[in-house]
Amino acid sequence: MATQQQKNQHLLWRTGFGPAAGQLARLGSSTPDALYREIRSQSAAEPAYIDVMDDYLRMVYIDMKAPGQPKFVLDAAAKKKMLLSNKAGIQKINLNWIAEMVNSPAQLREKMALFWHGHFATRVYNVYFQQLLLHSTRKHALGSFRTLLHEVSKSAAMLNFLNAQSNRKASPNENFAREVMELFTLGRGNYTERDIKEAARAFTGWGANFKGEFQMRPQYHDDGPKTVFGKTANYTGEQVLDLLLEQKATARYITGKIYRYLVSETPDTTRINALADRFYANDYHIGKLLDDIFTADWFYADKYIGARIKSPIDLIAGMQRILPMTFQDRGILLDLQRILGQILFSPPNVAGWPGGRTWIDSASLMARMRLPRMITERDVLDLKPKGDDDLGGGVAGATIFAKGKVRALDKDKSQIAVAIDWKDFQKHFEKVPRTELVPALAGALLQTPMQVPPSLLDSYTDASSRESFIRTTAIQLMCLPEYQLC
């Protein structure tokens, strides 16, 4: 049976990015129910809009004119400037959002926003469109999936990514219609090719302008009758989205995916169907679905605790929560995302990150097991990520990630330049007797029992003082395979 502390840590890992150093003290006494109520209320408020656009982009996208010019002219120089500004912007929004995941009390909101970020995966080299979409996913992360689906479908980022501009009455482009059914709502096997073709016609004429605003262009819209799921009417795009939500398969598909994200990679069909029934009955209220999961007794069963493989973002954010740290250059967090295989705003394709065991291969596992030593100067960062030629449009310096370049290192030593604030973490173990320190540290850091004898750590830890023993033991525990689980 899991202890109260383990259950609470389980809850904190699944509703957020793990325990913060300052939270450790109360995890032995609080009940998971009380903790969940607090987690929920901390995510109640609408999130602040993350706005990273620089003045140039703001003028271009919003005011539609460049400084000193009556009207914006998209010439070669302007294109280049936009690419460079967008590059900087996409890096910045990535880092600012990670900072929210680490520091925000609204952990559940950010955790679910990350889920929706992967669910509604887009790659668009326009930071303005990206930040608008991110705001939608964060704002509705715990609210209505109906609202979220409508808002995302009409977002400039999604319209651009799935070729809405070329979806016209004369020659419908089925890209969005296909993905919205296969990936965003029903899941494979619950629609026909005919449904896609007909639905695509309903979405004709949808588009977005430079300012990121949804545009309905009636001249391109096919307003004739369409037959979707056996019903015929002069459907609009909005009505087709509602038809998708009317299908119970959508509730089951979304619930199944959330279950895999929050509970276990091994689906439990009976449980998922029961949850999906209530999700459907509650008109797709995400928060209520989460309440159903996190207040259920079964959620705290041993088999679910420590059973998920952390995503690279879980790992990167989680380390910073338990050991608050300041990077000389936060850009290092971009490099780590590339090395570990998950870059925010750059999903592998519209299907998002597959997750689970796909995070782990020979190279990524070794990198994960070296990372804690790298941030404590006990190892060097000598790994080079693969390049990403995309999105730079070929402008020199505009590629978000050039091959093999790693920034933010202490150049002489190839070490990550970072300062860890150990105060709160150490304080928690102040009164623990020396002989119980290793199990206590392991209990706080690992969600699954150690599968190596604690004596293994001896030759890697520094017992010269209590303080260094705590620090080096914590770091070595974080290097174990067990730390990759949550």
């Binding site: 090395i339 394709n349 299907a351 990524s364 990520p385 693969k386």
Partner: protein, 400 residues
């Protein structure tokens, strides 16, 4: 910092460490059986979208010269392959291989509904999928699954890099990525990883969530050790260029000569995304490829392994027919592929050059699906069930 010396003293030799291998790795204990004439595939990825039209130049085609007033290569500058086709001047060794009958050139390789995003198109090439499919395993990885169900041999497919490409990730099996065979040997990291795997407490049949991680770690270490030993066994004496690609081909050469059990080697070179001032960048990148391939092919020939090696190049897409306003070219569609080796059944250019009068919105149309090339290589070279790996039957080509 205090512990460096102590840790150094505790670094066990690789040989003694192998005595404690977990039981599921016993396969490595037995002498590896490598059949004589072990066929290997080397995949060379040209990242960024190699400009196929300036690689194999249609030297008699007016449309080519009209579309590229700045970038077109004059016929006399190219190395003649046929009356119609000339190779980029940086590829003399490709021309030699062509004339010696050791090269196959496929024109217009691509897929229906081509994607012009690097990332997505590379995703399609790596996974071996259609453009409307999303598959999160790679074609080489699934070859490992089919080949080696349940066995712990990541050394069957190797990539020399710090991260593993999607192409080498299977459902059950993954290829192994290492920067080079020595990158782990003798390091503190290796000692720690080894301690962790050796002292792993076996829960006797009780599957623990961490088991998968321990298993991955163990097979990584054993694989790395196996590669390290083999790379030293018969290190190649041949000279290779001192470039990133040259060094990687040198490692591959050494390993092929060592009779290691590896079937697929995967290397990539990026820098082909030539939107701006293409001429110099493209020539430099092609020269790096030419020189590394040249050294490798000579090495294999000199050591009697040329017939056992198939080297295949690909790029995620070609480039547009027309040059752009920055003396470069933008993302296109179909492209050429080269295959080298002593065991080819057909030689030279196997299909006509792309028709520049019949374009798809300014891009070359595909004549051959790249999955046909994969199917041919999987079936006829690697001797596996290509349909199982690719999920459907693609018609085979006849070059092997």
């Amino acid at each position: 910092m205090l512990f460096k010396r102590r840790e150094f003293l505790q670094v066990g030799s690789l040989a003694t460490a192998s005595l404690f291998l977990p039981k599921f790795l016993k396969a490595f204990e037995a002498p590896a059986f490598v059949p004589p004439g072990n066929k290997v595939l080397v995949v060379l990825q040209l990242g960024g979208g190699n400009d196929g039209l300036n690689t194999v130049v249609p030297v008699r085609n007016d449309i080519y010269y009209r579309s590229r007033p700045k970038l077109a290569l004059a016929r006399e500058k190219t190395i003649a392959l046929t009356d119609e086709a000339g190779l980029h001047p940086a590829l003399p060794s490709f021309a030699d291989a062509y004339h010696n009958g050791n090269m196959v050139l496929l024109n217009g390789v691509g897929y229906p509904n081509p994607e012009r995003s690097h990332f997505r198109s590379m995703d399609i090439w790596h996974s071996g999928s259609h453009s409307h499919q999303y598959i999160n395993t790679g074609w080489v990885g699934r070859y490992l699954d089919a080949q080696c169900n349940g066995c712990a041999r990541p050394t069957q497919a190797l990539e020399f890099d710090d991260t593993l490409s999607l192409a080498l990730k299977g459902e059950q099996m993954n290829g192994l990525a290492l920067r080079d065979p020595r990158s782990l040997a003798g390091t503190t990291n290796e000692k720690f990883f080894r301690d962790v795997t050796q002292q792993h407490i076996d829960h006797h049949g009780h599957e623990q969530p961490a088991d998968y991680l321990y298993k991955t770690l163990s097979s990584t270490l054993s694989g790395a050790e196996y590669i390290y030993k083999n790379s030293k066994l018969r290190g190649t004496q041949a000279s290779y260029p001192n470039t990133a690609l040259g060094k990687r081909f040198r490692i591959i050469g050494s390993l092929v000569l060592s009779d290691i059990d590896t079937k697929v080697y995967y290397v990539s070179l990026s820098g082909f995304d030539t939107h701006i001032n293409q001429e110099v960048t493209h020539a430099r990148a092609l020269k790096e490829v030419n020189d590394a391939v040249d050294a490798f092919l000579k090495d294999m020939k000199a050591n009697g392994r040329f017939d056992d090696v198939l080297l295949m190049t690909f790029s995620e897409f070609g480039r547009r027919v027309a040059q752009n306003a920055s003396a470069g070219t933008d993302h296109g569609a179909a492209n050429n592929m080269f295959l080298f080796g002593g065991g080819l059944k057909q030689k030279g250019m196997l299909n006509p050059m792309s028709d520049l009068t019949d374009l798809d919105n300014g891009d070359l149309k595909y004549q051959l699906d790249f999955k046909q090339v994969y199917a041919t290589v999987l079936k006829k070279w690697l001797g596996t069930d290509d349909k199982a790996v690719l999920g459907e039957q693609f018609s085979h080509l006849k070059f092997i």
